[in-house]
């Protein structure tokens, strides 16, 4: 607790949240219909609604953040407000951690429990003997009990490069931050720009890797639990890299075009940086548990 209670800013009424709620409605309702339409090859409006929802969401984010930035630039925010934002961002990242935890949990469960059980481990001797006599437990699971086959994605090639790329990007981002704190705007711009490029490079290689998986390895989303966990974990991670990169790009534009942020006040930049580091840590876990081990 601070000993002095600063003046607290309670924002005026704002139209943005309700726009955001409508956007989420369109996204959820649109996606719900779209998924049925694509998988059943039926015509429908779901996809359009989904796209409209995403557009509305972006519109909302732009509007909302413009308000917040204006307020911040006008010095309406106290230190306390800044702390609120920081805590909000950290707990948001924590909730993201838990989202990934669900998928890592599924991965570990499949590897440590489900697959050995299907091969008769634990109290499942009959499972193997009666239901899956031909199945052999292995990880990566290259042949499922149902007989789907695939090849494994080795870690030595693209995944390793990608790991290095992301690690370097965390370092460059760190230097961008110190640049900002020491008021070296040149270093800030250079390092931040570099980080974004590295992020884009990562995404590019990821796409190449997916194409390789589908075309050469037969490793697909529906190739059994190995493919499932591989694509959902790397896929959601990729989505987060994309979001993080956009986030950083916005910071870059604010710095280059508007000369925003000072050595002492740069919450948005810091939030983007935290997010980026978080995405990086997730990748390390991914690299170890999805690719290497």
């Amino acid at each position: 607790m601070s000993d002095k209670y600063e003046h607290y800013y309670v924002p005026e009424q704002s139209p943005w949240p309700i726009v955001g709620a409508v956007a989420l409605f369109m996204i959820a309702f649109g996606a719900g219909n779209y998924v049925n339409e694509v998988t059943k090859d039926q015509p429908g409006y779901g996809g359009y609604l989904l796209l409209a929802g995403i557009a509305t969401l972006i519109f909302m984010l732009v509007g909302w953040f413009r308000n917040v930035i204006d307020e911040s630039m006008n010095g309406l925010y106290s230190k306390q407000m800044d702390r609120s934002f920081r805590q909000c961002m950290s707990w948001f990242i924590f909730s993201e951690v838990m989202f990934f935890a669900a998928f890592f949990g599924a991965l570990f469960y499949a590897r440590i429990i489900a697959i050995p059980w299907l091969d008769g481990a634990g109290n499942n001797a009959s499972t193997a003997a009666v239901l899956w006599p031909a199945f052999e437990a292995a990880w990566p699971l290259l042949k499922t009990p149902g007989g789907t086959e695939t090849q494994a994605m080795p870690w030595q090639g693209l995944p390793l490069y990608n790991t290095i790329i992301l690690l370097i990007s965390s370092v460059t981002l760190h230097f961008a931050h110190t640049g900002l704190e020491q008021n070296k705007r040149g270093q800030l711009k250079l390092m931040l720009g570099l980080t974004i490029l590295l992020g884009a490079g990562f995404l590019y290689l990821q796409v190449i890797e997916y194409i390789h998986a589908y075309q050469d390895l037969g490793l697909k989303l529906d190739s059994g639990i190995y493919g499932n966990t591989f694509f959902l974990l790397t896929g959601f991670h990729g989505l987060h890299v994309t979001l993080g990169a956009v986030f950083l790009l916005v910071m870059f534009l604010r710095i280059v075009l508007k000369n925003h942020f000072t050595a002492h006040k740069h919450f948005a930049f810091q939030a983007a940086a935290w997010y980026w580091h978080f995405v990086d840590v997730v990748w390390l876990c991914l690299f170890i548990f999805v690719y290497v081990l």
Binding site: M1, K4, H7, Y8, Y9, V10, P11, E12, Q13, S14, P15, W16, P17, I18, A21, L24, F25, I27, A28, F29, G32, N33, V35, N36, T39, Q80, R83, S84, Q87, C88, W91, F92, F94, S95, M98, A101, A102, F103, A106, Y109, A110, A114, I115, L118, G122, N123, L131, W132, L141, T144, P145, G146, T148, L221, D222, G224, I225, G227, N228, L232
Partner: protein, 530 residues
């Protein structure tokens, strides 16, 4: 309930406007009281919709045989009843109370992130419209139970599943944002001198609840995502043929689900801990131990999830582990019950409606806790599992637990919200009608369950007929009793005896130091806490 602002602290520059007028006030609001009100009204609406579905269930079960609805529709009613009550009635009610009360209790001007607060609320009506709309699509709505076990919810479900999944996603977003807001408000906006160990217990219990929420709602989002990809995109998380396991679904779901049930009871503990001392005119017996007990319950809640899965064929060692951990939860919960009783001991009690609901809560929640403990005993659970004994257990902790605490809270703080005293006689009628009917409704379910009636069935063997008729009658009576509540609330908003600032003789806490009705912005300059 329009709060006319005659703000006693009106001296700062900007935000000293009263509420805007008309619809815009509610759509664009950034005021914690407006948003709290919206949450509470929404929750009441959902309680009635979910309750109406329960009435369909009870009407079908009034007699053996199929009379009113098809089995498929019956399952949709059960499923959506559970979902609406849990996510639409109880959770938003608590969030509404948090919005109204936490800033007032800690001496803050508002929630920490007022705009996000508005967003959290307005997602909900949309999310539930999607869920309810899916009932009307071809093939009907979700019918796999509120627990949506795979593969019934994947390979074998109908087209509404995608809508179900996405509506749960956005409900989750709403809950997470709401929880973050609570945490940040509490960590950051306490008035000077309001140390953690001086916070009212309602604030404490919500603080811990909010952590539970941000820890488990994302896991729910994860598991519905897997359901979506399993159903539509050929993954096999829950399909042995692809190396997955249907039981994996249950592990992930209950990792969310068990903490979820404590999300629905911890704020209730906070409410009861506020009300009992007031009407006993005696301080809470053990404040610190209440805080520790709440934290212990929250921590333990992450280690007990598989007690819902004793019959799934886990190895014995796992069954034992989860049995022991589950039993342990009785200890901190007991600490709470004992503390409430010790608070009453040698107090000077009066029995206004909030206190009546709190007393009923203590007895009936404890009964629900006892049946929970019985369910925790693995070998016995083999007999109880998926019977009406379980249905009895969770309605005791949810209806006479969570819902009764929400009722108690509504009566307790209504005068502060509206500036008027509620009609005490009508309130006592509401209480006694509810108390009697709710027990006619849920108590016999224990017997029916022990006698072997499975849950989630639209028709049953003849031996269960008499009791089911009785249960249904209790159900209708309980439903009708709730109309008294609505009447009372409307009356109280419209007028009534003027409430004092203090309202209750024994009440303590910051919210009782400001005017009734509470001014639009509670504290613009922070109060000093000694």
């Amino acid at each position: 309930m329009s709060t006319v602002t005659t703000d006693p602290h009106a001296h700062a520059e900007h935000e000293h406007h009263g509420p805007a007028k008309g619809l815009k006030r509610w759509l664009y609001t950034t005021n914690h009281k407006d948003i709290g009100t919206l949450y509470l009204l929404f929750s009441l609406l959902m309680f009635f919709i979910g309750g109406a579905m329960a009435m369909v269930i009870r009407a079908e079960l009034f007699q053996p045989g199929l009379q009113i609805v098809e089995p498929n529709f019956f399952n949709q009613m059960t499923t959506v009843h559970g979902l609406i009550m849990v996510f639409g009635a109880v959770m938003p009610a608590f969030t509404g109370l948090a919005n109204w009360l936490i800033p007032m209790m800690i001496g803050a001007p508002d929630m920490a992130l007022p705009r996000m607060n508005n967003w959290s609320f307005w997602i909900l009506p949309f999310a539930f419209s999607i869920l309810l709309a899916s009932l009307f699509m071809e093939g009907g709505g979700p019918s796999f139970g509120w627990t949506f076990y795979a593969p019934l919810s994947t390979t074998y479900s109908n087209d509404s599943t995608a809508l179900f999944v996405f509506s749960v996603h956005i409900m989750g977003i709403s809950s997470i944002m709401g929880a973050i807001n609570v945490i940040v408000t509490i960590m950051n906006l306490r008035a000077p001198g309001m140390t953690y160990m001086k916070m009212p217990l309602f604030v404490w219990t919500w603080f811990i609840t909010a952590y539970l929420l941000i820890a488990v709602m994302p896991v729910l989002a994860g598991v519905v995502t897997m359901v979506l990809t399993d159903k539509y995109f050929g993954t096999s998380f829950f399909d042995a043929a692809g190396g997955g396991d249907p039981v994996l679904f249950q592990h992930i779901f209950w990792f969310f689900g068990h903490p979820e049930v404590y999300i629905m009871i911890l704020p209730a503990f906070g409410i009861i801990s506020s009300i009992v001392p007031t009407f006993s005119r005696k301080p809470l017996f053990g404040y610190a131990s209440m805080v520790y007990a709440t934290s212990s319950i929250a921590l333990l809640s992450f280690l007990v999830w598989a007690h819902h899965m004793f019959t799934t064929g886990m190895p014995v060692a796992a069954e034992l582990f989860f049995m022991y951990c589950t039993m342990l939860i009785a200890v901190p919960t007991g600490v709470k019950v004992f503390n409430w009783v010790a608070t009453m001991w040698r107090g000077a009690m009066t029995f206004e409606v909030p206190m009546m609901f709190s007393l009923a809560f203590i007895v009936l929640f404890t009964i629900g806790g006892f049946s929970g403990l019985m369910l925790a005993i693995t070998p016995a659970d083999f007999q109880y599992h998926d019977t009406y004994f379980v249905v009895a257990h969770f309605h005791y902790v949810l209806v006479t637990g969570a819902i009764f605490s929400i009722m108690a809270a509504a009566y307790y703080w209504l005068p502060k919200w509206t500036g008027h005293m509620y009609d005490e006689t009508l309130g006592q009628w509401h209480f006694w009608c509810s108390l009697i009917s709710v027990n006619v409704l849920f108590f016999p379910m224990h017997f029916v369950g022990l006698a072997g009636m499975p849950r989630r069935i639209p028709d049953y063997a003849l031996q269960f007929a008499d009791f089911n008729a009785l249960i249904s009658i209790g159900g209708f009576a309980f439903g009708l009793s709730q109309l008294l509540f609505v009447w009372l609330v409307v009356k109280c908003i419209k007028g009534g005896e003027k409430a004092t600032d203090q309202v209750w003789e024994g009440a303590e806490g910051l919210e009782w130091t400001i005017a009734s009705p509470a001014p639009y912005h509670s504290f613009t300059t922070p109060p000093e806490i000694k």
